[in-house]
Symmetry: C2
DNA sequence: AAGATTTGATAGATCGATCAAAAAATTGCG
DNA sequence: CGCAATTTTTTGATCGATCTATCAAATCTT
């Protein structure tokens, strides 16, 4: 990266102003002798040459112009070969392709973005990790899927961080104004989310992973996973295998997702309203809370014979409680299918993140291509999708081992 | 985003070539009547106007020129206010800043990158997730830290995916040639890693998270965590608390990291070579493998009274084994301090990812700034750092609950 | 006070690509 | 063949910023 020295560099070394350097070169007579020799020394030392532009024969990346020269066509034709090959005659095209290959040419991403006025980049905010969260890995896994799918469309995923929604708004504004990203993916929408209204008002293209939880949220694109259906499936599965009283351990009422998931249990549990109160608990998302709630439920006169939980964290705690109460085989089902569920053999409801990512891109960019679609107007047909999760059945690893070891 | 219609659009609608459209406008006489009227209809329908460039007064983002106009200075001065404020007089500067504020101006990232020839972007590959890996979340957490630290330097983190090192090389080449990223962070280095030699040869700036495991790996920048020291600390801690025979469950010999971590145990265990063979096991990184190995060790005539594992996965399995063998209080220490460790109350050795990220950036860009430093030459002083991990002590949650419930 | 030097602001070129339109070459048809 | 129409290629402008060198005004020397 040995850049050509500039007047600026010479000035710094000789400890004079740029103007003085210029004078030494163009009208040496007006510069005092001492200064002049100091400047000349600096020029010598750095190997500065006035019109340095000419000899930048340093290993420059080939440009479209170089390709054009080699293939004996105009640079526009080279551009066409790359961007709309069908408009170029076969003979010409192969000649240009050969030249591209020979030089190892690749279009300069920034130049292209400047001209086309699109960055082909999707901004994704990484929210801070909650201290004990094992579920938050969902975002990480979603980002992976999004990146994979984006690669296929020649889109890039750029990450940024922000501590809270307000800070996120500020970051998005800057990224958008600087044309750093031309679409954004929101995640973890909540009641009274300020981001959506703002983005809609600013007309910045986005899609949210998570449905709006407020009736007054403006119309926008979103994709979400149907937690209610997922939990419902889990409960039906347990009952089909003989469970009579399926208990529920969920989140507090402030969580839209939590209420949604709980409603799936309510609908499928087959319990009376009174029993529903008896066999359910609400708690923060934490392993020890899961254990606590499960212990409570299991010490009822008629304890539940299966448990469904709003998260793998709670479910993991519930499994511990089950073992502690001497019921290691009690069926427990979690939610999110985090790696830990696979590790301990916990059944869990899996979010189809592949599909979520694909849908998010489809909503933003259409079925294919990398032109971002504008945010939908109020009157437009639905621009959102609710995807069905899938129950992943597993056999708890402690039971597997019991079997293996005969213990 | 209602773009002005172009000749291209008109041509498509009228189903004629662009040239014909041009002729209809400029020399109508040479176009046959039927064609001409079809083209005119299309022009009308789209509301096409020949010199549309003039009236693009649609909400364009303000440019440096707009700011210059409002502040009555040249655009170069505006640029100076942004990039080297000290060279601009106070009065002028505040006038320009006011204009910037009023217009909500923000430099166009791509234009700047094109001119400055640097993308200020770091490329990071997301390796595919191993099916059961709970440790692989390390990369995700590292990426988070890297993004945070990069934000502070006005650098961007761009993700890409690749299935294997060879594919990764190809992706890096394309991203580098297209000036999409000007530095890369490698992770998960392994024996005979082909990426490093290639990057060094191509002179593409990079740093690897993970030291080279081969003697013949060329000199390059790297940062890593001292697994040996971390495990050593864990073993010392256990022995200081009375453990006589600390066992080890680690990975197979093909893992550089695994061998490194094991050596920490060997050094601090205080066991004879024979006992070391007795009290250690090698296995793939998997929870059930951890349980299996731990069961073996615990059924020895003189079982170990504490266990240290190469990963949280193995440690989690070992905890299960301990409970199954009726020794729920057996001290177990894992590695990586994954969220799951916090969740179940497993002590673990924590990698200082904050520091790893900061060091990676410092090696790539120097103590501050966003100019990439070239790869170091063979003779240069060490350009790598080995960071010390930290033991996080926890009390197993099942024990906490035992205490609470009196069970 | 005249000349040397620095500070402040500016003009013009340039980064590497695509867009828009026009020109040139080719094809089709009566 | 001759002209209209199409296909292929080229010219010139442009995206929005920074780089380079220089001019102009202010400040310092002797």
């Amino acid at each position: 990266m040995t850049r050509m020295p500039t007047v600026e560099d010479v000035a710094r070394v000789a400890q004079v102003s740029r103007q003085t350097v210029s004078n030494v070169i163009n009208s040496p007579s007006i510069v005092r002798e001492a200064t002049r020799s100091r400047v000349l020394a600096a020029i010598d030392e750095l190997g500065y040459r006035p019109n340095a532009a000419a000899d930048q024969e340093i290993t420059r990346m080939p440009t479209i112009q170089d390709v054009a020269g080699l293939a004996h066509v105009s640079k526009q034709t080279v551009s066409n070969v790359i961007n709309s090959p069908s408009t170029v005659r076969e003979a010409t095209r192969s000649r240009v392709l050969a030249a591209i290959d020979e030089l190892g040419y690749r279009p300069h991403a920034s130049a292209r973005r400047l001209r086309t006025r699109k960055s082909s980049t999707i901004g994704v905010r990484l929210a801070p990790l909650p201290p004990d969260g094992i579920s938050s890995a969902i975002l990480d896994r979603f980002v992976r899927k999004l990146t994979e799918q984006a690669d296929a469309r020649d889109l890039r995923v750029m990450l940024f961080t922000a501590g809270d929604p307000v800070e996120e708004i500020d970051r998005i504004r800057r990224l958008h104004e600087g044309s750093d990203a031309d679409a954004f993916v929101l995640s973890a929408t909540e009641y009274g989310d300020p981001r959506i209204a703002w983005l809609v008002e600013q007309d910045i293209p986005f899609v949210s992973f998570g449905r709006p939880w407020d009736a007054k949220t403006p119309h926008h694109r979103w994709v979400d996973v149907d937690g209610r259906a997922g939990v419902g499936e889990a409960v039906r599965h347990l009952r089909a295998h003989g469970a009579q009283r399926v208990g529920w351990i969920g989140w507090t009422e402030t969580s839209g997702n939590g209420n949604e998931r709980r409603s799936g249990w309510e609908a499928e549990s087959g319990l009376s309203a009174t029993d529903q109160r008896t066999y359910s608990r609400r708690a923060p998302d934490d392993v020890t809370e899961g254990t606590r709630c499960a212990m409570e439920l299991l010490s009822l006169p008629e304890p539940p014979d299966a448990l469904v939980c709003a998260s793998d964290s709670l479910a993991l705690g519930a499994m511990t409680a089950a073992r502690m109460s001497g019921r290691p085989a009690l069926p427990v089902i979690g939610f999110d299918d985090t790696p830990i569920a696979a590790a301990v053999g916990l059944s869990s409801v899996e979010q189809p993140l592949d599909e979520v990512a694909a849908t998010a891109l489809a909503l933003l960019f259409g079925p294919e291509g990398d032109d971002v679609l504008p945010n939908p107007g109020d009157d437009e047909e639905p621009t959102n999708r609710l995807l069905a999760p899938r129950l992943v059945e597993r056999r708890p690893s402690h039971l597997q081992l019991d079997a293996t070891t005969g213990d």
